[in-house]
Symmetry: C2
Subunit: 391 residues, 2 copies
């Protein structure tokens, strides 16, 4: 949905006659002064942006340290901003990006460089506070719930005793795993057991729950969040090697659980790991998600033109209407804050979600937006952005 | 595609006014005399069959042993066939199912029970001989190739040094892994390296190829077939525990390769495991696959009515036309035979496919056939089949 928001930004900028560039690979590109000239891009090109998965300008995992920790970084950044004549920065991302956005708001105060900064939410993890949801999440949840519905039909047709596990992303938050619950239409439908990061993993309890499930339904579909932790707060699994990254890479929890269940019960256990598929699957997105990601981008630019700064675009359902509204949220309230699945959204057994969660989720999944297909496959355009010559 | 073929069979039976039942869970259900009364099902119900993933009558992994190994099994089966008045059996599946079909053709000779038997090909592994392709394969390949195209856009946007692995099914055959190659439109596009079961896995060679790829493209997308073996013919990975099954369950090869690459090169490596998703993803099928699966079912029934037996419906492109034709293939030629990816379909480097393979594959992926959606998710009907009272 980064691309959809970018499309919204470009659209609003064209409409307002404002000059626009994009930092290649976000903060990393800004540092190096690698700016893409969006003014030079014809309309038919940027209008295809929202049909693309991924992040067409490139993503960054670099973090902007506080001024006192690395003043040279700040001066370097100011030189680029100043040199390219940039007065406003829009940042699209999760809580890491909002922390960068917050720090950028200090530019005027620290360096005498007046910079307007607006955050645009986007994270499939859905763990940003102060927004009803983060663009990206509804589409990932839709893909996962559709996949669970399909896996359930597959596994149930294989006869009794089959167990299927699907591992979801989401880091410390269970939103994506919980999202799979939308697959169920009737009591007893898959997914049967959710392993959420918010609920400590107790193998014996899981085994009991699985036994009950197999007795009742003959088969079981389990969803395992990558961030599941045991009673001591230890992750069930991490990837073996992740050098030089501020983030520990998760993954492997479902395989860990599957091996345990297979050994304890002598069962056929299958494991699917959606990994990046769940955020890249442009072929199966929520039309609502796409529309609001675009709207968030447009809003961010409009707010910047109105002189706002230091805020993130928060999405919330408009009262008494079928539509949505955008509310300015202080970046200070969002940066570094992590919204886990609230207790009221988790079922009493710890392996399910509450009806309240489903009421929250279902409206977010609405509508399809197929990409164009050619030769039997989604036909994603190959977009080229010229470098801005500002130096 | 089992459901699509079943729909074709039902359609042809209705058309011919022939009575039809289905064995619940295939051979296992036939043994137990669990037969479903398809004559009692209204048209609006069976016409929805092809919109369903999985196998709506249930699958079986049971094998029919040779007569001399288990005569009582054969007598039991004859009692059910005789009791229910069944003169024709249509079997839908891969080489295991065709072996069962072949053995069933001996019924007349062994037990004095005249039985007509027709095989209908269906396996995402595409490893049946004597048919241009097996229904199920094109759709699974389409899903995988679309996924690779999406993963590639995701991983390339993350910046240099990223490696993404996708594990595919296919047992000993590399058709599914090779199918991912359709994702590439231009030289250098993902997938960059395919690890096929037909090519022995040599870690050092892979490392060299990966280095070259990262130098050239900055990132790499690898496809790892679950059935990859080393120089000694040993599988890279199997699932730890698979009791009581004639089939060793594979899976885990990609994670094995990923750990090796991460350790050797200190890279960020992501692993997605499509597992059953690749055969259950009804939301993204090949329309050609669906149409020919239905046609294979219709043909099987028509052939049976013409008195044919002991054959499988082989699919082949009609010469000089845009269409397909069905050719009867002796079950004896198909049963237990396994069609691996031929050498002419494998690229000279061992990590790619040849242009000939892409010429083979691309026509198979054509056309989309979306299932109905409701409330943001694919709306798969819940079909009920009444039990046949024959005892």
């Amino acid at each position: 949905m980064v691309n959809a928001s970018a499309q919204g930004v470009i659209e609003a900028a064209r409409h307002a006659g404002v000059s626009l560039c994009a930092a290649r690979h976000g903060l990393s590109g800004l540092h190096r002064g690698e700016l893409l000239d969006l003014d030079a891009v014809p309309q038919r090109q940027w209008q295809q942006l929202s049909t693309l998965p991924g992040t067409c300008f490139g993503a960054s995992r670099e973090m902007l340290p506080p001024y006192n920790a690395a003043p040279e970084t700040w001066h370097q950044l100011r030189d680029v901003l100043c040199g390219a004549g940039i007065g406003t920065v829009l940042l699209n991302g999760g809580n890491g990006s909002m922390t960068i956005a917050l720090r950028l708001t200090e530019f005027g105060q620290r360096l005498g460089y007046p910079l307007r900064v607006i955050g645009i939410p986007k994270t499939i993890d859905n763990d940003l506070v102060a927004t009803h949801f983060s663009p990206g999440y509804p589409s990932a949840a839709k893909y996962l719930a559709a996949s669970v519905r399909e896996l359930a039909l597959d596994v149930s047709s294989l006869g009794p005793g089959r167990v299927m596990l699907l591992e979801t992303m989401g880091r410390n938050a269970g939103w994506l795993a919980a999202g799979c619950a939308a697959a169920a239409r009737h009591p007893g439908d898959a997914p049967h057991l959710l392993l959420l990061p918010e609920v400590p993993y107790r193998p014996e309890r899981l085994l009991d729950a699985l036994d009950t499930c197999l007795r009742r339904h003959g088969h079981a579909v389990l969803v395992v969040a990558e961030g599941v932790r045991d009673d001591n707060g230890l992750l069930l699994a991490e990837q073996p090697y992740t050098p030089g990254s501020p983030f520990q890479q998760l993954g492997g929890a479902a395989q860990r659980v599957a091996s345990y269940l297979a050994q304890q019960r002598g069962l056929h256990v299958h494991v699917a790991v959606a990994d990046c598929l769940q955020r890249a699957a442009r072929h199966l997105v929520s039309a609502l998600d796409l529309r609001l990601a675009q709207a968030a981008g447009r809003t961010a630019l409009e707010w910047a033109l109105q002189g706002q700064s230091g805020v993130m675009v928060g999405l919330r359902p408009a009262r008494g209407k079928e539509d949505w509204e955008m509310a300015a949220v202080a970046l200070a309230d969002v940066a570094d804050a992590e919204r886990l699945l609230p207790a009221s959204y988790i079922g009493a057994d710890g392996f399910s979600v509450s009806p309240d969660f489903l009421d929250y989720l279902r409206p977010l999944l609405q509508g399809e937006d197929w990409p164009p297909f050619a030769d039997g496959l989604p036909s994603y355009p190959s977009l080229q952005w010229p470098l801005l010559r500002w130096q």
